[in-house]
């Protein structure tokens, strides 16, 4: 439920993130109603789901079902919640559905400004072998239960791939993510992460 107070709060935050005088205005963003529960998320996951916190992922533009599954997995214990533990404990199914819908409707993050320049051919070779685009799509925007990778924080992508590689994180169903990451070297992981982070 969007209270007048939270509307003011969000408006203020949006105003604070407006560009400096003289620079071109960003395109007008569609108004997306934030569920009240989303207030809790801003501190780590950023205003409108774009994270400025190391190791905390951007959530904006993540497919609805993907976000829902991650919250369900953390709440059920199929995924280690870490710092999310206290938060997921209190989430109802309705909260989870609202959050999934909200983040999916937000404009996706722009290419990550501070990504390291990488050899695109090398990155693509690593990913083609593991068929990443099959699930994550050619533009890495994700679909269904598969997350958006384009524009994600590289530190979070690195953390995720390492967690999948070591089996700390399983992913859905038959553990496809564990399978594809088990042969990734650290250099491959950094390569992919910075390549995807910079993708529009």
């Amino acid at each position: 439920m969007l209270t007048s107070r939270s509307v003011v709060c969000i408006a203020a935050l949006l105003a604070a993130s407006a560009p400096a005088h003289g620079q071109p205005k960003p395109p007008a963003q569609p108004t997306v109603k934030a569920p009240a529960i989303a207030q809790t998320c801003i501190a780590c996951h950023g205003i409108r789901g774009i994270s400025t916190t190391k190791d905390s992922p951007s959530l904006a533009g993540q497919p609805d079902i993907f976000t829902q599954y991650q919250l369900v997995f953390m709440r059920d214990g199929q995924r280690q919640p870490g710092v999310m533990a206290a938060i997921v404990k209190t989430l109802t199914d309705e909260n989870i559905r609202d959050l999934g819908a909200y983040y999916a409707a937000l404009p996706a993050p722009p290419p990550f400004a501070k990504a390291d320049p990488v050899d695109a051919d090398k990155a693509n070779a690593v990913m083609a072998l593991r068929r990443c685009a099959n699930c994550h799509k050619d533009d890495f925007s994700g679909q269904g239960e598969t997350g958006r990778l384009a524009g994600q924080r590289p530190d979070y992508l690195i953390k995720s791939l390492r967690d999948f590689r070591s089996g700390v994180r399983r992913g859905r169903g038959m553990g496809a993510m564990m399978e594809v990451s088990v042969t990734l070297q650290d250099e491959d992981i950094a390569l992919i992460a910075h390549y995807l982070a910079a993708k529009p």
């Binding site: 199914d93 169903g173 399978e179």
Partner: protein
């Protein structure tokens, strides 16, 4: 996906492998290849690639992917709205029996009225209790892998996981804490793909249990692709039917004592081929065709040259292509009109390897004990809003009063279908 499953189940996929060349700022799709891999050899299936369900993709079906499922159960108010749109024959009505039963799969009644339900990949078996209209599902057994199949026999709950059959004694004594599960059979192969199972009591204390093939199309490991009959008391087992690809439902015909089962056919031939099957086992060791022959009359593009379809037993009934009939039961109650007696209800989970979705409904099939004269009737359906999935029936189970319960593993609910003149 199946899930998973199912899934479930499953890795999701798109149909396109795009090779992107050039600089990062200019994404140019150079080639759209179809996926292919060499799936011959058993090692491949011990560690199947994440997109194992693809096999050799074809152009026409590019982009089709298994259903990602639904993370949270559909709320009751929304279920009521959906059920208002489900069509049934005159005199029948459908209602929510229990909402909030995540990934409800095979169901079984306890002696004291508890309804147990398996799940696809939550690792949990739920116990559903409470007065009518206020049924609540609680996790009862947790920490398993894919406990899709459950049965209740001689005061004990049986749960079949990928590679183990467990027995839980006197489970209804304390539904807050499940007893320790005893492994009564574990001579199963380890494969997860198509390894989720169903329990068919044979009426003599044993269970018929399917062991699916860990691939889309392959010469499967010899430890897979069949139905076994297992004695939970001694762990003795025998193979009773061969050439079975992926069965997640079966029942013994009360008229003859014979095993009948649903079987999901291979993917990536076309939208309309092959049909999923209903089969009848008339003798031990009968072979139903996989991988050489599908639906009784379709030679497999890859393996069909090696044998003739005439060597195998054709299905009693072709359900429809990719429709994924899962749980099935013969109706033996007195609530429904007499023409339903000894007929089969089939939960048709619904297709993914097809441009236009098919299934998402409960089918009624009347058929002679020898398999002749099949007559179908779409009994309850469909759980589709155009191409949007509202629910996926996974199992059916008769209630003591003769009504029919339907487990929906997508919406996470159990429905009750009843009849009144």
């Amino acid at each position: 996906m199946r899930r998973q499953e199912t899934a479930l189940a499953k890795a999701c996929l798109t149909g396109v492998v795009a090779a992107v060349f050039g600089c990062v700022s200019m994404a140019v799709v150079q080639a759209q290849e179809l996926k292919k891999y060499d799936s011959s050899g058993k090692d491949f299936w011990l560690k199947p690639p994440p997109d194992w369900f693809l096999g050799d993709e074809n152009k026409e079906q590019k982009g089709q992917t298994p259903n990602p499922g639904q993370p949270t159960p559909t709320p009751k108010a929304e279920l009521d709205k959906i059920l208002a749109g489900i069509k049934l024959p005159p005199g029948f009505k459908i209602e929510v029996w229990a909402a909030g039963v995540p990934q409800a799969r095979q169901m079984a009644w306890g002696d004291k009225g508890t309804l147990f339900a398996g799940t696809f990949d939550k690792g949990t078996v739920h116990a559903v209790t409470g007065p009518d209209g206020q049924k609540v599902a609680k996790p009862f057994i947790t920490g398993l892998r894919m406990p899709t199949g459950v049965a209740f026999q001689d005061g004990a709950l049986y749960v079949v996981d990928i590679d183990k059959l467990y027995r839980y004694d006197n489970p209804e004594a304390n539904l807050e804490k499940a007893p320790e599960g005893k492994v009564v059979y574990d001579d199963f192969p380890p494969y997860v793909p198509h390894g989720w199972k169903y329990l068919v009591p044979d009426g003599k204390g044993w269970f018929y249990i399917p062991v699916g093939v860990p691939c889309n199309i392959c010469l499967p490991p010899a430890s897979t692709g069949h139905y076994r009959r297992v004695d939970p008391k001694t762990g003795a087992a025998e193979i009773v039917a061969l050439g079975v690809r992926n069965s997640v439902g079966g029942a013994v015909d009360p008229r003859t004592g014979q095993l009948w089962f649903t079987d999901n056919g291979r993917d990536w031939v076309s939208d309309d081929l092959p049909n999923d099957e209903v089969n009848r086992v008339s003798k031990i060791g009968e072979h139903f065709g996989y991988p050489y022959c599908h639906q009784g009359d379709l030679a497999d593009p890859k393996y069909g040259a090696e044998r003739k379809c005439s060597e195998f037993t054709p299905p009693v009934y072709k359900q429809g292509p990719h429709i994924a009939g899962l749980g099935m039961k013969f109706y033996t109650g007195d609530m429904f009109p007499p023409e339903y007696k000894n007929g089969i209800f089939i939960a048709q989970h619904g297709s993914w390897n097809r441009a236009k979705k098919l299934g998402y409904r409960v089918l009624f099939l009347s058929v002679d004990p020898d398999g002749k004269n099949p007559k179908e009737q779409v009994f309850a359906g469909t759980w589709l809003d155009d191409q949007k999935i509202l629910g996926r029936p996974a199992d059916v189970l008769q209630a003591p009063d003769g009504s029919l319960l339907v487990a929906d593993d997508q919406a996470g609910a159990i429905y009750r279908i009843s009849y009144q003149k």
